[in-house]
């Protein structure tokens, strides 16, 4: 008995040992691999869907799925626990049109004896047969950046011209995974044409689109005739571009057409009316006055998260003439109108999502807050980030809300999402957890407006006097900038970004780099700001110090 027990013990130990050895065997030296696929966010405020809140709630996630939600949900022993006491949990955002990680295909080679009036389709930017997934890199850094902003699922837009290919739906999960949710969600179209070939303008593009569509319809009929009864029917010639339209013609996928401005939107609606395809309007920056037409056309609406610059609002109009002030008022009105489109769409009952395609990632949440300040409700904004795109994309079964059984795509913020100081602390995408350092806030001391704007500099070096422009801009208290310098390799000027900018109210310093004969030189600049004057020096290692003075160009006024 004892012996048997020893044997059992031995076996148990052996199995344990074997187990550990397998663990060691699979261990990943980089430390990237997660320890567990089980998570518990405890005691958090959970916004399960727009307008629905649960307080002090625990969410349990297992291997990419939300398995339990509730005040008393049991935390599994293997779970990594995220104390959510001060966190607000939202469903992961869905980007209706993004291009994170999407490469532009190489330009098509022009054949010999090329006739620009009758180019091959690929030279003319007509490649609807392509899929964006063939040009997508799951390890691309910009995916990381957009995930940090809260986006967990994205409809990827292919790059190119008129008809660059098919869109696809992906999740921003682990780079080791394929992360594909749907391989073809729409046929992407744009008002962009290849240079110097037919079609070269919106005129040609509209006509070409009509012709392609009609021929695709005819070829589809022919193919069906041939499939049904090929006896006596000529073989339909294969044509990959036209065949790419079949799922559109058969109403399996929509046309996703990028249209920023009102007239472009109207042009796409015109094509839709003539040809009858299902339509998703992508990257709209205006058009809330067209709400009725859009509803009547049953078109899905995707608003760009891009907003115009607020330079009109900020313009100094004190000394302007009455005439200028009147004109300026209209510009400000137009700016405010641009901010209110989302709110107006919501009021008109148009269900819309957002796209990130045109916007800088740092502006996405800021612009949403601006839209909310101009009439969009917080619920409407959240719906446009979650439930609306899920329903437009037909993925509500597994995405868009926080419910048991849905995919584990979550955003954990330090405050109510649209509150000014709210920061995203964690994002979970496809069940993988990403944590962000929310303590890091880099603020430049001193009043940055002393520096922002254009400066004209003069620098004396042994090579002679050089002049140029330095431009500083400010965003959330951080300065950025660029400098125009004479190209040391001859011919024209170069624009180089400024780095390590620091300003304390008096001393301004920054660096920039130039390349001379393959060698990178860092230029350190330091000096004092006195009103509109900057007096300083530049130093280059092994070359010495030289003077640099600059004068600020007056701010633009009427």
């Amino acid at each position: 008995m004892i012996k048997r027990l020893t044997t059992v013990l031995f076996l148990v130990v052996l199995i344990c040992l074997m187990d550990t050895s397998t663990v060691f065997g699979q261990s990943d030296q980089t430390g990237q691999k997660r320890v567990t696929g089980t998570y518990a966010i405890t005691n958090a405020t959970v916004i399960t869907q727009p307008g629905k809140w649960l307080s002090a709630t625990t969410i349990v996630i297992k291997d990419g799925l939300i398995t339990e939600i509730g005040e008393n949900a049991a935390v599994p022993v293997e779970a990594k626990v995220i104390p959510g006491d001060s966190l607000f949990v939202y469903a992961g955002f869905i980007d209706m049109g993004g291009e994170a990680g999407v490469q532009k295909p190489e330009e098509a080679q022009k054949p010999e004896n090329f006739d620009p009036s009758n180019p091959p389709n690929d030279v003319a930017g007509i490649t609807p047969e392509r899929t964006v997934l063939d040009y997508w890199d799951t390890a691309n850094g910009s995916i990381t950046e957009w995930r940090k902003t809260g986006f967990t699922i994205a409809q990827l837009l292919p790059k190119g011209e008129m008809l660059p290919g098919k869109t696809a739906l992906v999740v921003y999960g682990n780079a080791e995974s394929t992360n594909i949710l749907k391989a073809a969600t729409g046929l992407f179209g744009q008002f962009e044409t290849a240079r110097g070939v037919y079609p070269g303008t919106t005129l040609g593009l509209m006509a070409k689109y009509r012709e392609l569509y009609k021929n695709a319809e005819l070829k589809n009929q022919h193919a069906q005739m041939f499939a049904n009864n090929s006896n006596g029917i000529s073989r339909p010639e294969k044509n990959k571009s036209l065949e790419a339209f079949y799922p559109v013609i058969n109403k399996q996928i929509p046309v996703v057409f990028e249209a920023n401005e009102e007239l472009e939107i109207r042009r796409v609606l015109k094509l839709k009316k003539e040809l009858g395809f299902d339509l998703v309007l992508m990257d709209m920056e205006e058009g809330s006055n067209l709400a009725e037409e859009l509803l009547a056309a049953n078109a899905s609406v995707v608003l760009s998260l891009k907003l115009p610059d607020d330079k009109a609002q900020k313009a100094d109009m004190e000394d302007a003439t009455e005439e200028s002030k009147t004109a300026h008022k209209r510009v400000v009105e137009a700016y405010e109108e641009a901010l209110s489109h989302a709110g107006n769409f919501e009021k008109a009952g148009v269900k819309f999502g957002f796209s990130t395609n045109q916007v800088k990632k740092d502006d996405a949440l800021k612009n949403l807050r601006l839209m909310i300040a101009n009439g969009l409700t917080e619920e409407g904004a959240l719906a446009a980030l979650t439930t609306n795109p899920a329903s437009i994309l037909g993925i509500s079964k597994y995405a868009g809300t926080i419910e048991e059984g849905k995919s584990a795509n979550l955003v954990l913020a330090t405050d109510s999402l649209f509150a000014e100081d709210s920061k995203i602390n964690y994002v979970m995408a496809d069940g993988y957890l990403y944590e962000y350092d929310i303590s890091k806030t880099k603020k430049t001391e001193g009043n940055t407006s002393d520096v922002t704007g254009e400066w004209n500099y003069t620098s004396e070096t042994p090579g002679g006097t050089s002049t140029g422009e330095i431009r500083f801009t400010e965003k959330s208290g951080n300065l950025s900038g660029e400098i125009d310098v004479d190209d040391p390799n001859g011919g024209g000027t170069l624009t180089r970004p400024l780095e390590n900018i620091s300003y304390d109210g008096k001393t301004l310093s920054f660096t920039f780099s130039i390349e001379v004969q393959g060698q990178k030189l860092t230029v350190h600049t330091k000096g004092k700001v006195d009103g509109d004057d900057f007096n300083g020096s530049i130093s280059i290692r092994d070359m010495g110090d030289f003077s640099l003075t600059a004068k600020k160009a007056p701010d633009f006024k009427f």
């Binding site: 009036s117 070269g200 005819l218 007239l263 115009p308 109108e337 009427f558």
Partner: protein, 458 residues
């Protein structure tokens, strides 16, 4: 039941509102004006009543119901809205310059109703303009006749639905420079232009035949026929051959004008208008006999080699030879004073008031195929009218009010400083260019100019 009636009534109301919203029509009574009817002489101290967009009555002592606006035009002159047979105003794109034939493209796709130039044209009395494709191609795109109903955001609302289809052709230097010298494809010479057009028409004939054969065999029982390829370009050319589209052809030299007349006669096409036509005076009898007329500049020439042989008497010579002649602008600036352009024919050629006014009213209407609707003040025609403070052929004349379909779109007394419909949210001041790029025939085309700077390119 009453509820249902109520719902139906309100639906009808909404429906009719939407219809009027598309092309609004107005009523107005203009009294005591000197009415320049163009087609029926000058009527002193007369009234014109427009009801629901249509001229209901022309005469004396007319009255209208109380809700119709009445305008006292005593001492003023009333003429039909001015019609410009050749303009590129309010278009986002002018040239699809990438192929020698682009008959399939449609200017109707690129109308920009926000262009404040429309309002400026109205302020010059112009109510209708023919928005043309440019002259980069031997056969350019299909043009569009627009009624300048400024204020709408919908391009469809300014299309004159009654107008027949038109298309732009171009001869001479522009298509040969863009394609022959610029891209090394046909046409490189004037002969090449003719060949391109003839080839296009011949291909269209073959295309028509293919589809005819297919459609006939398709109707037979158990047909196994499969369709030919759809080609919008050839289909459009076939429509020209079928007489459904009026050609407006950019041309200068007499030889090439007569060339296209012959080409069209060979293919049985008789809906043909020549535009620019600087050497038209040399072939005036032929133009009178075989075409729907010539639309000319009053006194523009010598801006390139093929327009050196010209004369300001051109319009008068053509008119006296029985050619339906119009004076066009081809310019966002000239379109605001076409009445001055017409008046020049009195200085050069001594045309009568009626002949001169016809050049910018009924004659362009005939060339656009819309003369049954507009172009003169007649009962039953559309209420497009302009009131001038002086006779419109006087150098002192200033338009006071402009009406389209009986609706007032311009009133000099209500003219605001800023008439833009759409304002950029970021442009502090609309961009100002020292060298203005005119919306001309060659707008948007990268020209092949052999090292010279090219300015004027109509």
């Amino acid at each position: 039941m009453r509820k249902l009636t109520y719902i139906i009534c309100s639906l009808l109301f909404i429906g009719s509102q939407q219809l009027t919203a598309q092309t609004p029509k107005g009523s107005v009574l203009i009294q005591n004006a000197t009415v320049l009817t163009v087609s029926q002489g000058t009527l002193e101290d007369s009234d014109v009543l427009v009801e629901d967009g249509i001229i209901k009555k022309v005469g004396k002592d007319l009255s209208a119901s109380n809700n119709v606006e009445t305008i006292d035009a005593s001492g003023k002159f009333l003429m039909p809205g001015i019609i410009d047979a050749h303009s590129h105003l309010a278009l986002d794109v002018v040239n699809e310059a990438t192929a020698p034939i682009t008959a399939e493209v449609a200017i109707a796709d690129v109308i920009n109703p926000f262009d404040v130039g429309i309002y400026r044209a109205l302020a010059g009395g112009t109510t209708i303009a023919h928005g043309l494709h440019g002259s980069a191609n031997a056969i350019g795109g299909q043009s569009i006749t627009m009624k300048y109903r400024y204020g709408t955001r919908n391009p469809e609302d300014i299309i004159m639905k009654e107008a027949p289809r038109t298309i732009k052709f171009a001869l001479g230097e522009n298509p040969t420079r863009v394609h022959g010298r610029g891209k090394n494809i046909q046409p490189r010479t004037r002969m090449g232009v003719e060949a391109v057009i003839r080839n296009g028409f011949n291909e269209a004939l073959q295309y028509k035949k293919k589809w005819k054969t297919y459609n006939q065999s398709k109707e037979q029982k158990n047909s196994k026929a499969t369709h030919p390829e759809y080609n919008l370009r050839l289909q459009t050319l076939a429509d020209i051959l079928d007489g459904e589209i009026i050609i407006h052809c950019h041309s200068y030299r007499a030889d090439e004008i007569y060339m296209l007349i012959n080409v069209c006669r060979d293919f049985g096409v008789d809906k043909l208008v020549f535009t620019h036509v600087n050497e038209g005076f040399k072939v005036a009898p032929e133009l009178a006999k075989y075409t729907m007329g010539a639309s000319v500049f009053s006194d523009w020439w010598a801006y390139k080699f093929e327009v050196y042989y010209s004369t300001a008497y051109n319009a008068a010579i053509l008119t006296e030879n029985g050619v339906i002649t119009s004076i066009n602008s081809d310019s966002d600036e000239l379109i605001r004073h076409l009445y001055h352009e017409a008046a020049k024919t009195q200085r050069y050629g001594g045309l009568s008031d009626e002949q001169a006014l016809a050049l910018i009213t009924i004659n362009p209407a005939k060339q656009l195929g819309i003369d049954e609707y507009v172009g003169s003040i007649e009962e039953g025609k559309q209420g497009d009218l302009v009131i001038f403070d002086h006779h419109p052929l006087s150098v002192y004349a200033v338009p006071q009010m402009t009406f389209v379909d009986g609706i007032k779109y311009f009133d000099i007394n209500e003219d605001k400083d800023d008439q833009r419909l759409k304002v950029s949210p970021t442009e502090m001041v609309e961009p100002v260019y020292l060298q203005v790029e005119e919306e001309s025939c060659m707008h948007g085309v990268e020209l092949f100019t052999e090292g010279t700077t090219f300015h004027h390119s109509h």
